[in-house]
Each structure stands twice: as C-alpha cells, then as structure tokens.
C-alpha cells in the first residue's frame, strides 16, 4: 500500500534496523529499584485435564534484568506466560506482580498493572496498519473514554509546546484549554512512530499488518507491547524465523529495550541468542523447573544438556 498521506511516514526509508528513535520519548518511568523482585511465581501449578503444563513452578523476575525462560517443546513456557498475563488462571499457587496477587485478574487489567507480551503465533490486528497497531498499545495508558471523545469534555491547560502556533486557535486554546483527547491522540501518534523507529520498521508504518513480512510482524508485536509502557515485557520466541544476522540485531534490540527501563522476560530456543543476551536463565522441563542460574551455569548444567541442548556441537 503505497499511500503515504501522512507526513511522518516518509521520514526514514533505508535505515531500517538502526535505531533512529528519540529515546526520551519512549523511555518509561519506573517506580522501583533495580534488582527488587518484580514478578514472582509461587508454587504455580496449572493443569489442563490430564496434562500438567506447570508443576509447582517457582521463580522470580527482578527489576531491570533480562531473564531467559527455556526448555524443550511443550515444557510449559508459553503456559507460564499465559498464566502471568491473565489468559489462564493457575490451578494452584500464586503469581505476584510488584507484591500484588494477579492470578485470576483479567488480561487487560494485568496489562494496566504493567505486564505486556508478544505471542508465539503472531497475533497482530491484521487489518490495521502497523502504526494503528502500536496506537492501540499506546491507548492502554490513555484515559479518555467515550464521553470524552464525543463531547471533548475533559480539558487540560496545555503546556507551551502543546499550544498551536497560529493566532486564534492559540488564544482559544489558552482560554478553553485543549481536550485531553486531542493531546493524547497527538502524543500517541508521536510515540507510536518513535517505537516503530525503535524496532526498525518505521518504513512500513502505514501498511496493513497482515501484509508485512514475518520478521516485521514480529518486531511490530514488540513495538505494540512496548507501547503499553510495561514494566515487564514478555517476549515469546521473538527470534523465530530470523536468520543469524537478524538474530544478532534482535539481541541489540532486546538490550535497548532493557535500557529504556523495561524488565524483559524472553522465551527463546536459539541458544546463541539466549546465552548472549540474558542475565539469568530459568529452565523448564515437563512443567517443572529443572535449573536456574547465569547463562554459563545453565549451559554447563548436565540436566539441561540432556533434556534440551543435546550435544554441544552446533546449536545455532
């Protein structure tokens, strides 16, 4: 779709993977100390009929770290994500986010508390443009609802840079203020664009999500999740379908996400990526935690090698 009616779209073209975004605009404010426990799985068990997808799993995620979650296929990694984001409710045990019990809470509420995720099987809004997908994420932090949109009731006193340039509108805005809706809309657009730049897909911002190549879609999912300003972002196999060079880029991206102030939890089968980017790793097998520790420790752990890595010749 070549229609580029919007002004922002044509700003950057070839610089795709390079981060040209303005980090001030997309960094998030965090309320806690680096290193404190952000999320905690406390003896979590989750069963589907006969299948025990998670079996008495305990682990913690600390603020500011990049935690890897690995394990064989069907070990329960995605299920753990689903439990953390409200898609499933654990059969037993507790999940605490910033000390608050979140098991059983609705997904959108959990998102508002500060957890966002991507999906293993990409789930974008296929008929919306990339930009709009991210806008939906930004909306999670916005307040204006139907009445505000319809009647522009909630008005705020604009700051100097938010004031329009021209005469009449400027004076009007000074007297009556600007509706929160307008400001949010503006901020959302700006932020979305920055995020698209950040993940490196701004060149196709106005294309429908369904028409983007797989790799772009993966990155778009990340941008959308970031837009909700999560303190914890969970990435489910973000590198699936990437070639080694792209994986390399992704590693950079994940680090930069952490630098923005997010805590990152990542599921990934690509060991090079996992070992290269994470601070700590938790290993699941058959729904149970079989190991936890620094990348080096885990990579050397015989149990992990037996269950998951196989012979350490060429895992990448």
């Amino acid at each position: 779709m070549s229609e580029q009616t919007h002004a922002e779209s044509s700003t950057d073209t070839d610089v795709v993977l390079e981060d040209t975004s303005n980090h001030d605009q997309i960094a998030i404010e965090t309320s806690g100390e680096v290193g404190e426990v952000l999320l905690e799985l406390d003896h979590v068990t989750l069963r589907f009929g006969g299948v025990v997808a998670l079996n008495d799993v305990n682990f913690q995620i600390r603020r500011g770290e990049i935690l890897g979650l690995i394990g064989p296929n069907g070990a329960g990694k995605t299920t753990a994500f689903n439990a953390m984001t409200g898609v499933y409710t654990p059969t037993e045990g507790a999940i605490r986010f910033k000390g608050k019990e979140i098991a059983g809470i609705k997904p959108h509420t959990i998102n508002h508390l500060g957890i966002a995720r991507t999906f293993q099987n990409i789930r974008l809004f296929p008929e919306m443009s990339a930009m709009e997908n991210v806008m939906v994420g930004c909306d999670a932090r916005h307040k204006t609802s139907v009445v505000g949109v319809l009647f522009r009731t909630y008005r705020v006193r604009p700051s100097e840079e938010e004031l329009p340039e021209s005469g009449i509108r400027r004076s009007l805005a000074k007297v009556f203020g600007i509706s929160r809706h307008t400001l949010e809309e503006r901020a959302g657009r700006r932020r979305s664009m920055e995020l698209l730049r950040f993940v490196g897909i701004a060149d196709r911002a106005h294309e429908l999500a369904r028409n983007l190549p797989y790799g772009y879609q993966r990155r778009l999912e990340i941008a959308r999740a970031l837009a909700t300003e999560p303190e914890l972002i969970c990435l489910d196999e973000p590198a699936a379908g990437f070639n080694p060079a792209e994986k390399e880029d992704l590693m950079g991206l994940i680090r930069r996400i952490r630098d923005l102030g997010h805590t990152v939890l990542v599921i990934e089968h690509d060991m090079k990526l996992v070992l290269g980017v994470t601070d700590r790793i938790v290993v699941l097998e058959f729904g149970q935690k079989i190991a936890e520790g620094s990348p080096e420790e885990v990579a050397r752990n015989p149990k992990v090698i037996a269950a998951y890595l196989g012979e350490p010749d060429d895992a990448a």
């Binding site: 779709m1 984001t85 609705k106 966002a116 809004f125 008929e127 919306m128 909306d139």
Partner: protein, 379 residues
C-alpha cells in the same frame, strides 16, 4: 495552476476531498446541508423527478424524507454496533420499538401507564408526561435496555450474539403485544405526544400533515449525531473497537477492556435506535407492536451493509436508498418485494464492498479480492 490540477486529476474523489483546503470543505458541507433542508420544496425539473409524489398513488415527499432521516439515525447507530465494534445485532428494532413505546407509554393520555398515574396521583384526564420530559425517559430506557441486554450477552461471540439480539427484538415486540394492561396490546397506543410549538391554523406546529417540519427537526438531530459519531471513529474508542473486532484476546492482552468498549457500542447504538423510534412514534402519533417486526431489523442491517459498513456516509447512503427506492417505485405494486430482493442481490454481487465503503474497508477488500482471485485463478 496546471500543476495543481494535474495533481488532482490522479486522485480519487475521497482523496481529493482530503486534500481540499478546509474552507472549501466547510463551504461544500454547508451547501450540502442547505440543500438537504431545501429538499422538501424541490420542484425544479428535472431534479424534481426524485420526488415520490409524482406518480399516482405516490406518497408524501416530506413524509418519506422524514422516514429516510429517521432510518438514517438508525443506520448511524447500528453502524457503531456493526460497522465499528463488529457486533452483529439482528434485534436493533427492539431499541427502536423501545424509543417509540417509551414516549407513547408516558406521553399519551391513551396509555394505561399514564392512566394509572392519573388515578394514582389524582391528575386530570388530560394530563400526561410532557414531551420534553419523555425524551430523556425514552433515551434512558433504551440506554438501560442496551446495557441490560449487553451485559450478559456481550461475552458471546459473533453469531451467538446475533441470534440473542434477534431474540431480544422479538421479546420486546411480543411483550408489547401481549401486555394489554400496560401497552394496550395489539391495539397500540394513540395520541402519542408531539414536540411543543406554536399553533397555526388550529393545528399544532408539529402536526401530521406538515411533514416537512418533522423532517427538519429530524435532520437537525441527524446532523448533530453525525458530527458526534464521526468523532468516535478516529479515536481511542474507535481503535479499541477495531482491535476487538480483529482479535479480541490479543486486544485484551494489549490492555483493551473489551467488554467495556463493547458495552459502550451497544449503549450508543441503543440510544440512537431509541431516539429514532421516539421520532417515529411521535410523528405517527400512534404506536403498535406490528410496526416492529424482525424483518425491520434485517432491513436496518441491510442499510448499513449495502452502504458500506464502518463508514457513516455509507450507512447514510444505505438508509437513503433502501427507504427511498421502494417509495419512489410504488408503481411496481406487487412486484416491489421481488424487485427489492433482486436489487439487493445484484448490488451485493456487483459491489461487495458496499456502495460507499470506508477507506479502510475498501483497502481491506482490495487485498482480499486479490487473494481470492489469485488463489482461484486456476479453477
């Protein structure tokens, strides 16, 4: 100069509109509105051929215009529910009926409810709830009905919702028909009040004959509604609806409170449906259950879809055509339903994206068509 015209030539009408300077757009819109208000008096040939009262046994032009506008209000409301939020509502007539019945039940001296109030509070036989008070009552009642219906059922997906809403429409109608003691049952309620206004020629300002006054009133309301409804589309709310339509679970994980927004869509739709029903009942000055059969719900949905669901102007076009054409071609008498059916099928086959699709839908549609075409290129 020529550069500008060149640039214009390549663009489609919609894009040209987007590119036009603001004053031009305002001016054009003003002209359109002015023309709409002038329509009942339209008498200049050949334009006057659009009137419905030219043929023998034609129907009153201003009354038809009024009905068109009422249905346009319905279409705008239903477009929010179907086009924006993607909820298939096959019982919209229920809200329409509620609007009409609320004004009748509270505003008519003929209504058992008013009679009960009269005797309870010792009021005169002439007393009924005044028209202006009936409006908030009607709106509140339809809004409550919307929430009441929505709250338990919006968790249902797609076509389950369709059948439940269809049932709701039927429940409203059947209840109105059977509760003789409250609604006068099948006989209906007469003497539904009209908006206040100065009397002339011994008739109320809003009387049954001078239909153009009703038309203007409804048109003014419609314009206000369009103005407001447009605001929804490109907003946080509109995006939330779209996201829900696409993938509700993913939207939820992205922080979209699906249920809340769906309920809003329902409530907005219900309110507009009720408002349209109120206008209809008041103009008719008579309300009876048979005016609210399921088929009317289908017609409403057809209006939205034929026009191009998701686009207010599409919905308006649909409402206009589906109301106007059958009236204009009254001469066809016995052939009208057949002609209507054939036209419906033909329009859909020839223009499946709707007559005036929203740009988003048109784009979506282009893509899908390509896909369908290519996959089947070989058959």
């Amino acid at each position: 100069m020529s550069q500008i015209t060149d640039a214009y030539r390549g663009l489609k009408l919609g894009e040209r509109w987007d590119h036009a300077p603001k004053p031009v757009r305002w001016f054009v819109m003003l002209l359109v509105v002015a023309f709409a208000f002038y329509l009942p008096y339209l008498n200049i040939l050949p334009f006057a051929y659009i009137r419905t009262d030219l043929t023998s046994s034609g129907s009153d032009w201003a009354s038809v215009l009024f009905l068109i506008v009422v249905y346009m209000i319905v279409a705008v409301g239903l477009n929010v529910v179907i086009g924006l939020a993607g909820l298939l509502d096959l019982g919209y007539v229920g809200f329409y009926a509620l609007g009409a019945y609320s004004i009748a039940l509270f505003g008519s001296t003929n209504s058992p409810v008013v009679e009960a109030m009269q005797s309870k509070f010792g009021l005169s036989e002439e007393w009924a709830v005044p028209f202006v008070v009936c409006i908030p009552i009607a709106i509140t009642m339809s809004l409550i009905a919307g929430v009441f219906l929505g709250a338990p059922t919006l968790r249902l997906r797609g076509d389950y919702l369709a059948i439940v809403t269809l049932g709701f429409g039927e429940i409203i109608r059947i209840t109105a028909r059977n509760l003789d003691g409250v609604t006068n049952g099948a006989a209906g309620i007469t003497q539904v009040p009209v908006p206040p206004g100065p009397e002339s020629d011994g008739r109320a300002f809003f009387n049954t004959i001078d239909a153009e006054r009703w038309y203007w009133l409804a048109l003014a309301i419609l314009i206000l509604i369009i103005f407001l409804a447009r605001r929804l589309e490109n907003s946080r709310v509109g995006r939330a609806w779209l996201a829900i339509r696409e993938d509700e679970d993913a939207a939820s994980v992205m922080g979209v409170a699906g249920f809340k927004f769906k309920l809003w869509a329902f409530a907005i739709g219900a309110t507009l449906g009720g408002l349209a029903g109120l206008l209809f009942g008041s103009k008719q000055q008579y309300v009876e259950p048979n005016a609210f059969m399921v088929q009317l719900s289908f017609l409403f949905v057809a209006m939205v879809v034929i026009g191009g669901s998701g686009n207010i102007y599409g919905a308006l076009t649909g409402a206009f055509l589906l109301t106007y054409l059958p009236e204009r071609f009254r001469d066809l008498v016995d052939w009208r339903p057949f002609a209507f059916g054939v036209a419906l099928v033909l329009v859909m086959i020839l223009r499946p994206q709707g007559l005036v699709p929203s740009r988003r839908r048109a784009r979506e549609f282009d893509d899908r068509r390509e896909e369908a075409k290519e996959a089947a290129a070989d058959v």
